[in-house]
Amino acid sequence: MSLRDENRNFIAKKIASYFTDGDVVNLGVGVPMLVANYLSKDVAVQTENGILGYGKVIGGNDPEKPYFNAAGNTVELVPGASCFGMCTSFGMIRRGRIKTTVLGCFEVSQYGDLANWARPGSYPGMGGAMDLVSGISNVIVATDHCTKDGAPKILEACTLPLTGVGVVKSIVTELAVFTINREKGLYLRERRDGVSIAEIREKTGAPFSVDPDIKIM
C-alpha cells in the first residue's frame, strides 16, 4: 500500500471510530467510501441512490444482486436493509433523518464552507452533494491535508464554486482533526503522532485555535 493509500485508510479508520451501534451514515465517493471497511456491522450505511443498510462493497455488476452504491459498485446488503427510489432517499436526507455524512473536498473554509464539485476544467456537476450538506447536520470532511502539489485544501475562504455555506462541522486529514464553529472558525482537536502543531500550521491555509488538551489521533 502506498503512503497515500495508507494515510487515507488511517483517515477512514479514525472516522469509523466516531460511530456507535444504531447510527446511520452516508458516505461520499473517494476517501469517505473507505470508512465502510472499518464500521461496526450495526452502523447502517446509506447510499443516496437508494439503499439503507449496505455492508461490503463487492464491485462488478451482478444482475442477480441489483444493489449498487452511488459509485455504481455492487454492494452486499445487511439484514434489515431496504431499497427505495431517489425521492425517498433524498427525502430522508433533506428531512434530517440521517445525522452524519462523510464527504471529500477540493477546498474547505475556516467557517465551514465546502467546495467539492467543480474545478477549472472539470465540471461534472454537483450530484447529490448539495442535498447532503443541506439536509444532514453533521458533515465530516475526509481529505488529504494538501493537494497532490502540496497546496493547502483548508483555506480562509474557498475559491471554487461552493457546495454549501457554513456546513462542515469537522475535518479529518492524515495530520489533524479540526472542528469548525461557523462564527469562530477552526479548532485543532487532535494531531497525528509525530506531527507538530507548527507543521499543521504550515500546511493549513487558515488560522486555527488549538485545544489546550489536544489529543493524539
Binding site: 451501534d21 444504531g22 446511520v24 450495526d42 447502517a44 446509506q46 439503499i51 439503507l52 443498510g53 444493489y67 446488503l77 445487511v78 439484514p79 434489515g80 436493509a81 431496504s82 431499497c83 427505495f84 425521492c87 425517498t88 433524498f90 427525502g91 430522508m92 436526507i93 433533506r94 428531512r95 434530517g96 433523518r97 440521517i98 439536509g135
Partner: protein, 213 residues
C-alpha cells in the same frame, strides 16, 4: 440494526399536552386503533390532529383536540356534529393537496405549488405565486410531533409494508413526524423482509408497539 420494539406503557409515555399528532387511515381502514387507545389512556389534551379524515373519531369525540386539519369529516351524524360544534377548530384542505403537504413535510420540502382550489375557499389566506405565466396556490408543508401509523408488517428495525388500500396516508405520515410510532399485524426478525418490500424504510420509524412486551 437496532431494535425499536416498545411496550404499550412506553408508548403511552410519549404523549403530552399540546402536541401535533398525525394519524394514518382513511374511512376507518388502515387506522392505528391500538395507538389511538394509547393517546386516550395518556390523558393528553389540547392536541392538534392532522389526518385525511376523521378515522381517529374516538380521539375527536373524547375532546382532546383543539384543532384538526382534515379533508373530510365523513357521513356519520355524530362526526359531522362534532366538527360543526365549534368546540375545536377545523381547517379543511383538499385531500390530494393535504396528502402532498404531509409528504412534503416528510421529505424536507418547504411547500408546493398547486392549482387545486383556485377560485374557491381553499385559496383563502394563502400566497399566490406566478411562475412561467401560470398562477398557483402556495401550500405549506406539514409536519408533526408524533405520527401514528398502521402497517401490515414490520421488522425489528421498523421497515414497514402495507397491503391494499390500507396504504392510503400511512407511508407519507410515517415520514412526516419527529417521532413515528407504528402498530402492525406482524413483527418479524431482521432479514425476513425483502429490501424491495420495505415501503417505509425503517429509518423513519422510532417505536413499534409490541403487545408481547
Amino acid at each position: 440494526m437496532i431494535s425499536k420494539r416498545y411496550s404499550k406503557d412506553e408508548i403511552i409515555a410519549q404523549f403530552h399536552d399540546g402536541q401535533t399528532i398525525m394519524t394514518g387511515g382513511f374511512a376507518y381502514h388502515g387506522c392505528p386503533e391500538l395507538l389511538i387507545d394509547c393517546v386516550l389512556e395518556s390523558g393528553a389534551k389540547h392536541l392538534t390532529n392532522i389526518a385525511l379524515d376523521v378515522s381517529a373519531s374516538r380521539l375527536m369525540l373524547s375532546g382532546c383536540f383543539d384543532k384538526m386539519i382534515i379533508a373530510h369529516a365523513g357521513a356519520e351524524k355524530e362526526n359531522l356534529e362534532a366538527v360543526s360544534s365549534g368546540k375545536f377548530e377545523v381547517e379543511y384542505c383538499p385531500m390530494g393537496t393535504l396528502a402532498e403537504r404531509i409528504r412534503a413535510g416528510g421529505v424536507g420540502i418547504g411547500g408546493i405549488l398547486v392549482k387545486v382550489g383556485l377560485g374557491t375557499v381553499a385559496e383563502k389566506g394563502k400566497q399566490k405565486i406566478e411562475m412561467n405565466g401560470e398562477t398557483y396556490i402556495l401550500e405549506s408543508a406539514l409536519t408533526a410531533d408524533i405520527a401514528l401509523v398502521k402497517a401490515t408488517k414490520a421488522d425489528y428495525y421498523g421497515n414497514l409494508t402495507y397491503n391494499g388500500t390500507n396504504l392510503n396516508s400511512n407511508p407519507i405520515i410515517a415520514q412526516a413526524a419527529d417521532k413515528t410510532i407504528v402498530q402492525v399485524d406482524e413483527i418479524v426478525p431482521l432479514g425476513q423482509m425483502a429490501p424491495e418490500e420495505c415501503t417505509t424504510p425503517g429509518i423513519f420509524v422510532d417505536m413499534i408497539l409490541d403487545t408481547s412486551l
